[in-house]
């Protein structure tokens, strides 16, 4: 789902950059006040692990493949702000070192895979009661990918409309294609994310109990670090 250069209308790409910078400034300010030393090894390992996992595309049929996005995984383990920062580091290295995703589309790629993925993943997972935790993780990961792809499809359609067809893809093609492919890819994301978190709960349960950084008051069994407290 990495948008390349030249696909989006320049105005849509610029809006993506502006929105992404606003999100990053807010996330950095919150993390400045709340991040703890013990978060750092997990942040770094998660970022690096998600990077290599994103290289491993899996077939979904019809000559199409998908790969783990990892935003829900990062957000569930670290909280949505730290998760979004992890995704930002991955996307910047992918773009600048490997040319995966265009520089002009980096803002949109961050919004679709980092911001939407992490916040959807985290809050959907939190909405499920403890006894349905596995179902909650699966739903969170699936929805994170699905909503990210829907956002990408809307950006494609907006680019097409604003440029009179010079950029993007018309809505009747972009929206069904992107959402159908990613509804299937999201199943893979859900299975892998649930599998990793169930595995971690058995081999390293303290990792799941690490304080998360959220915007609300401290709550829940994990005793979260409230970013605005």
């Amino acid at each position: 789902m990495h948008i390349p250069d030249g696909l989006m209308d320049p105005l849509v790409a610029a809006a993506g950059w502006i929105l992404a910078l606003v999100v990053l400034v807010i996330a950095t300010r919150l993390l400045n006040r709340r991040v703890e030393e013990r978060h750092i090894p997990l942040m770094a390992l998660l970022a690096a692990g998600i990077f290599v996992a994103q290289m491993l595309n899996f077939p979904i049929g019809g000559g199409t493949t998908g790969h783990l996005v990892g935003a829900a995984l990062a957000a569930i383990l670290l909280g949505p702000y730290a998760g979004a920062m992890v995704m930002m580091v991955i996307l910047v290295i992918q773009c600048l070192l490997f040319g995966d995703g265009g520089v002009t589309a980096l803002g949109l790629n961050f919004l679709n895979m980092g911001f939407i993925g992490c916040f959807t993943g985290y809050y959907v997972h939190r909405a499920f009661p403890e006894k349905y935790r596995k179902a909650g993780i699966f739903a969170a990961a699936w929805l994170a990918v699905f909503l990210g792809s829907l956002a990408c499809a809307i950006e494609l359609a907006a680019s097409n409309m604003m440029s009179g067809g010079a950029f993007g893809i018309a809505a009747p093609v972009a929206i069904p294609a992107m959402t159908i492919y990613h509804a299937v890819i999201g199943v893979g994301e859900g299975i892998v994310t649930t599998g990793i978190l169930v595995f971690l709960s058995q081999v390293s349960p303290e990792m799941l109990k690490m304080p998360k950084i959220t915007a609300g008051k401290a709550s829940g069994p994990e005793k979260e670090v409230a970013a605005d407290a």
Binding site: M1, H2, I3, P4, D5, G6, L7, L31, N32, R33, V35, E37, R38, H39, I40, P41, L42, M43, A44, L45, A47, A48, G49, V52, A53, M55, L56, N57, F58, P59, I60, G62, G63, T64, T65, H67, M85, V86, V89, I93, Q94, C95, L96, L97, F98, G99, D100, G102, V103, T104, S149, L156, I169, A174, A177, M178, Y181, H182, I185, M207
Partner: protein, 91 residues
């Protein structure tokens, strides 16, 4: 997380990556992802990038393995340094 534990996790990720890459080249390498397939359906071709990256993921197992390890190290280092900067700035 202790450094010994970190080394074990890194080794496990590399092992999983090395095995996963085999399946990637058998089943997926020839095909595009969801966005690339959508572009193909719409008859949209990928444009020349504005910025030319120095590396690529490679089109064979060995190069992809090396690039994966290189990217892993780059992301690990950047995320670690970024995290350190955030902690140092904390009051």
């Amino acid at each position: 997380m202790h450094s010994r534990q970190m080394l074990k996790v890194v080794a496990a990720i590399f092992a999983a990556f090395a095995v996963g890459l085999v399946f990637y080249f058998i089943f997926s390498a020839a095909f595009g992802d969801g966005l690339e397939k959508t572009m193909e359906n719409a008859g949209v071709e990928e444009q020349e990038p504005v910025y030319k990256a120095p590396l690529s993921y490679g089109d064979n197992y060995l190069i992809a393995l090396v690039m994966g390890i290189l990217g892993f190290a780059a992301v690990l280092g950047c995320a670690f340094l970024f995290g350190k900067l955030l902690v140092k700035k904390s009051p």
